[in-house]
């Protein structure tokens, strides 16, 4: 999905601003355009408005459950890969669905890149 040169958009949804900041730095460094969301509903909203190539979802955010956010994201942006990040070591059930991956925090840069690459099915933009 990520398209080299066209700066594909990634939605980073996490209620922790520091985490959003580092993820943004990593993704921007890799050539993505980043749109941030602080909670579930906002994530659903920006996913709808920004046509992202990838969505990074924190498993626990205020406002809604992961299940809800995930389901709505899938509904609004079918086929867009979703990377779930969690403070818990175990993946949520959504992680085992098609086009979805899971990483437990804290994430190393290499794990993040590997997961993103696997989801977008391409080399870094």
């Amino acid at each position: 999905m990520a398209d080299r040169g066209r700066n594909p958009t990634v939605v980073i949804a996490d209620d922790d601003p520091l985490i959003r900041a580092v993820l943004r730095a990593a993704m921007v460094g890799d050539g993505y355009t980043v749109v941030e969301a602080e909670d579930g509903p906002q994530a659903v909203s920006v996913v709808t408005s920004s046509s992202p190539g990838l969505v990074i979802l924190d498993a626990r955010m205020p406002g809604s459950s992961l299940a809800d956010t995930f389901a709505q994201t899938r509904a609004r942006a079918p086929g867009v890969p979703i990377l779930i990040l969690s403070g818990q070591p175990d993946p949520p059930p959504e992680a085992s669905t098609e086009g979805c991956a899971f990483l437990s925090k804290p994430v190393t840069l290499s794990d993040l890149r590997a997961a993103v690459d696997a989801l977008t099915g391409s080399d870094r933009p």
Binding site: I19, A26, R60, S64, L66, S86, G87, P89, P92, P93
Partner: protein, 759 residues
């Protein structure tokens, strides 16, 4: 009539005077007129009396007061009688003496012509007789006064003396005894212990004592026989009362022994001791508990035997004497040198007359109970710790994320070696911190897990492969299959985690390399060991992990299962590995056992309950054999479980049976889902043990926000069943559960929940 001179002549002529002269007594003759006609030499020479000077038979030699009496005797002699009498004589010096006199008429041609007599001074004889009487009186007084029986027997065994007490003991009067033979009065005594003793005393001329029950008198007697020249003196004490008391004591002891036989099968040590704490009774349980046999303990001081110090003991003893009772916990020691905690109860035993007599003690060995209490307390502490750890782990991971990612991002554009080194340090620390959080979380929920049938050998093989790929080449790993061990029910991942933890510890214990042996076998855990380990007795499968490393001291072994205890360098271990392993084993209904010798190595044994030999597919067999509850009618069930597999399988069963299903992986998600109000959830099916917000906390929260919503709880721990009824939890499912169990619980909960709502 013969004249006096003639009489004298007669006496002389017959040579009588010579004979009379040789006698110590006085011999005399008076004529019928009362004139002294003859006096022998004793009378003449010693008393200075002769015929010329002495006037009458009752003259100056007779006490004036007795003269008339003597005159009467004389008259009777003249009249022809022989008279004997005792009278008082007066010696020439005036001294009075008692005199025994015999006088007889002397006849000539039928006529009494004179009175001839003989007088004997019996004064000394009388004195000695009186003395003898006095002595006898005194002796009798003494014998009468003594409280014991005294008998004298002649050589022919006749009673010659018996004192009053002797009569009482013999239950016969002196008249019935004196002069009669002992064997006649008491025929059965001859063959008794007494008869035998008396006869041997006589035959062997020695003092013989005997104590026995004498049937004929119904008494216990203690007799001592002293042979005397005249026969046998026997001194007898009636010891019936004393003996009955003694017999009673023996009986009491026998009863106690009989009771003891009962008490011997009891758990508690029962000890009776004197007020001076000398042990008098010691039951079999005491022997079992303390190690000393009754022979060793009885007679010893309880204080010295059982107590290392006065602490506690002195206070207990004082309280018992003061209040009659004391109970409390005491630290005691055993024969093997160990110590134990006894729940001790002391009771003062008071005799019939109210005197304190002994102390009766019942000791329950509560060492194990105390240990279990400590374990339980620790488990509770760990539980709270786990909840806490689970709660903060998520936040900590979020905290670490920016640190780790930033450090890595910065390192990418960095060329300065110093800065790169520092960034590497930040990165390493963040990763280490994350690893610790992972372990803490793993520990926090170590007890919960899947329960599937696992072949021990398969598990062993998998572990062996893991070891081979993880451990350094310097460590040689041997997997010893041995006999075919029984299968176990468990969580493969968790069990591998336990084994890997042991393998890592073994690696660290063998820095220079060594040998790691892994084996499995089947065994039986008996009741005692089961109780000690807090598991259910029965068939177990034991997986052994043994290394040839540095080993551990006893002190280390005693602490290795404590959370955060570690022998590793700071930062290289969390101290949670074995604590987690133990929690996992405990969650499996098993336990970990360790044996180690410093310098030689350590051996860890995983005891897991074996599964029954033949097991059908539980779910299927129940499906066919049990009538399923009615199908659902599209009711929405929210499944809350942190394990994806459980959620998926439960969802399949419920959906196949007509229910709608929503899932949540943790408590907060469930609450969020319910609050979204998107669908009307009819029932919440929640796991109890979940990180962060567990099932109980969820139930609490729902009781406030959704008071009508029924909740069914599920857990791998039966102990959680006790929490049914808390809040809105209407029933409880123990994992692993079959479909019918699940469907029935859901159906029942929905029915009851509707009842509650409707009512």
């Amino acid at each position: 009539m013969m004249a006096g001179a003639e009489i004298v002549e007669l006496l002389k002529s017959n040579g009588f005077d010579a004979i009379f002269g040789a006698l110590p007594d006085t011999v005399f003759a008076f004529d019928v007129g009362g004139n002294l006609v003859y006096a022998n030499s004793e009378l003449r020479d010693r008393l200075g009396v002769d015929a010329d000077s002495y006037d009458s038979p009752f003259g100056t030699l007779v006490d004036p007061e007795r003269r008339e009496e003597v005159r009467a005797h004389f008259e009777r002699a003249i009249s022809g009688q022989t008279v004997q009498y005792t009278t008082a004589g007066v010696l020439p010096g005036g001294a009075r003496v008692r005199v025994q006199v015999v006088i007889a008429p002397l006849r000539s041609h039928g006529e009494v012509v004179a009175v001839v007599g003989m007088a004997r001074d019996i004064e000394e004889l009388e004195i000695s007789r009186e003395q003898s009487t006095a002595l006898q009186t005194e002796l009798e007084r003494v014998l009468n006064s003594i409280s014991d029986g005294f008998y004298f027997f002649s050589h022919d065994w006749t009673f010659s003396y018996v004192n009053p007490r002797g009569q009482t003991i013999a239950q016969r009067s002196a008249e019935e005894l004196l002069g009669r033979s002992l064997w006649d009065v008491f025929p059965d005594m001859y063959a008794s212990e007494f008869g035998i003793a008396y006869r041997s005393a006589v035959a062997e001329s020695r003092t013989v004592s005997v104590r026995d029950h004498y049937e004929a008198l119904g008494s216990w007697l203690e007799a001592t026989a002293y042979p005397t020249p005249d026969g046998l003196a026997v001194y007898v004490r009636d010891v019936s009362v004393e003996e009955e008391a003694r017999q009673q004591l023996i009986e009491t002891q026998n009863q106690l022994a009989a009771q003891g036989a009962l008490l011997d099968v009891a758990h508690d040590a029962i000890i009776v001791r004197s007020l001076g704490h000398v042990i008098r009774y010691w039951n079999a349980a005491a022997s079992r508990i303390y190690g000393w046999t009754a022979e060793e303990a009885v007679g010893a001081s309880a204080r010295e035997l059982l107590y290392a110090s006065d602490e506690g003991f002195v206070e207990a003893a004082a309280a018992t004497l003061r209040d009659g009772h004391w109970s409390g916990e005491l630290i005691q020691r055993t024969k093997s040198g160990g110590t134990l905690v006894a729940d001790s109860s002391w009771t003062l035993v008071v005799s019939a007359d109210g005197e304190p007599e002994s102390i009766f003690t019942v000791n329950t060995n509560i060492t194990e109970r105390k240990r279990q209490e400590a374990i339980l307390l620790r488990a509770q502490r760990l539980n709270s710790l786990g909840t806490f750890a689970g709660g903060i782990a998520h936040d900590l991971n979020n905290v670490l994320t920016p640190i780790l990612t930033s450090a890595q991002l910065l390192a990418e554009g960095e060329t300065d070696p110093g800065r790169l080194q520092m960034l590497a340090a930040i990165e390493t620390s963040a990763i280490r911190g994350a690893e610790m959080i992972r372990q803490v979380l793993s520990f926090a929920r170590g007890v919960e897990g899947k329960r599937v049938r696992i072949e021990a050998l398969e598990l062993l093989g998998e572990f062996g492969e893991l070891c081979a790929s993880t451990l350094p080449k310097s460590i040689e790993v041997t997997v010893d299959a041995g006999e075919h061990p029984r299968d176990v029910l468990g969580d493969r991942t968790q069990l591998l985690q336990v084994l890997m933890n042991l393998a890592v510890n073994a690696r660290d214990a063998m820095p220079g390399g060594g040998h790691l042996t892994v084996s499995a076998r089947s065994t039986e855990v008996d009741g005692v060991e089961a109780e000690r380990q807090g598991v259910t007795a029965g068939p177990f499968t034991v997986i052994t992990v043994e290394d040839t490393g540095v080993g551990m001291s006893a002190d280390t072994i005693s602490r290795i299962f404590e959370p955060f205890f570690t022998t590793k360098a700071p930062g290289s271990g969390t101290g949670l590995g074995l604590a987690t392993s133990q929690a996992i084993m405990s969650g499996h209904g098993g336990y970990l056992r360790v044996y180690s010798e410093p310098g030689h190595g350590s051996r860890f044994e995983l005891f897991l309950p074996s599964t029954p030999a033949v097991v059908e597919d539980e779910e299927q067999s129940r499906d066919t054999s049990e009538v399923l509850p009615p199908r659902g009618d599209g009711q929405l069930v929210l499944i809350v479980d942190d394990e994806q597999e459980i959620r998926a399988s439960t969802r399949r069963v419920l959906e196949a049976h007509g229910y709608s299903v929503a899932v949540a992986s943790q408590g907060q998600d469930a609450i969020d889902y319910l609050n979204s109000g998107r669908s009307s959830v009819d029932l919440v099916l929640t796991d109890i043990m979940m990180p962060v917000m567990d099932g109980i906390a969820l139930a609490h929260a729902l009781a406030v926000s959704h008071p009508d919503l029924p909740i069914v709880a599920m857990s791998g721990l039966n102990g959680n069943a006790g929490r049914v009824g808390a809040e809105r939890i209407v029933s409880f499912l123990t994992k692993p559960f079959g479909s019918p169990d699940l469907l029935r619980a859901v159906h029942d909960a929905l029915t009851r929940g509707r009842g509650m709502r409707d009512g």
